[in-house]
Symmetry: C2
């Protein structure tokens, strides 16, 4: 067996176990299980991480450096106005951002030919943000990110988003959440069709 | 000369001309000129498109399909409250989004070894969203996207962002715009150092 093949086999096995452990412990986003299950049975692919979208409140310091950012609240589901409002009211740091984050998937494979199959799937189904991020002997990682997102600062000093507008934003976040799940289903279907 | 080399030479020449034409006609984002100029003189790279960030108002229909989206207003610079407010007031479509979009660059090269140099630069300077999107004989395209962005729906039916909050959002958009330019300067410096 070539060196690259040995490396790939080891990496795939490692990620298969990590996936199975996460699923057994209930730590997987349910919507991603069908895709990850299929991928773990393929010959040439593995998944290294995934998230089916989330709605978060992120607290930042004055300089808004990512390093100092803290999840003030985090939901891997749609949200209600009351819980978001409570989260915002209780924040006493510098700057608070509300983010509806899209699906994200890191998909691994063994060579450029198999990577290209994934790139073509993204093109086909309309995922805009994707690309090969890691290229090593026996291992390539493609990142896929959904397009549906909201990024909005909601509290800083004496400024805070008002209730009426926040209610509207909650509605939009939940709409985007649904659109992400729809895109994930389409992705799952297409990957199942084109990978073995 | 190998087939791949011939293809790459043609593609590079084509994009060099497109860049020079755009610059001559004043259609280039000024902040990107130093990077594109350097790249056009390298042996193994070309740029196919770039934008140094912009602030836009995008009108959408009820279903919010990208296909039906229209630029209601577009600025490749920082904005003032009054012009943004006027733009929002004058919109009479279904849904209006305010977006501060990050820098985006499509960088081309001839093979995986040279692509990897760019991937490593992104990792090094902290660009999070990047990846090889196109892999063909004699041509690879890497997409680089900045992280600083704002996406927020500002008008729909009877809902409209109020003036006080909009003033704050304008300030944040302009801050993000500056951060994008800072990242572009860092990227330019690092690419100049690592490509010839």
């Amino acid at each position: 067996m070539k060196k690259e093949e040995t490396i790939f086999k080891m990496v795939k096995e490692h990620h298969k176990k990590t996936f199975e452990k996460a699923r057994a412990e209930g730590k997987m986003d349910l919507e991603f299980i069908p895709l990850c299950e299929h991928i773990s049975k393929t010959k040439n692919y593995f998944t290294s991480s995934c998230c089916s979208g989330r709605i978060v409140l992120i607290g930042l310091d004055k300089k808004e450096k990512k390093q100092e950012s803290v999840f003030h609240r985090k939901w891997h589901r749609k949200v209600k106005f009351d819980e978001l409002k409570k989260g915002i009211d209780s924040f006493d740091g510098s700057v608070l951002w509300l983010k509806q984050e899209p699906i994200i998937l890191h998909l691994g494979t063994n060579n450029i030919i198999n990577s290209k199959i994934i790139l073509q799937i993204c093109e086909k189904i309309g995922i805009k943000k994707f690309g090969i991020k890691v290229v090593k002997d026996g291992k390539q990682i493609i990142e896929l990110v959904g397009t549906h997102q909201i990024n909005i600062p909601v509290k800083e000093d004496k400024i805070q988003i008002d209730d009426k507008y926040l209610k509207y934003i909650v509605k939009k976040c939940n709409q985007k959440f649904d659109k992400n799940i729809k895109m994930l289903k389409l992705l799952t279907k297409e990957i199942k069709k084109q990978t073995k």
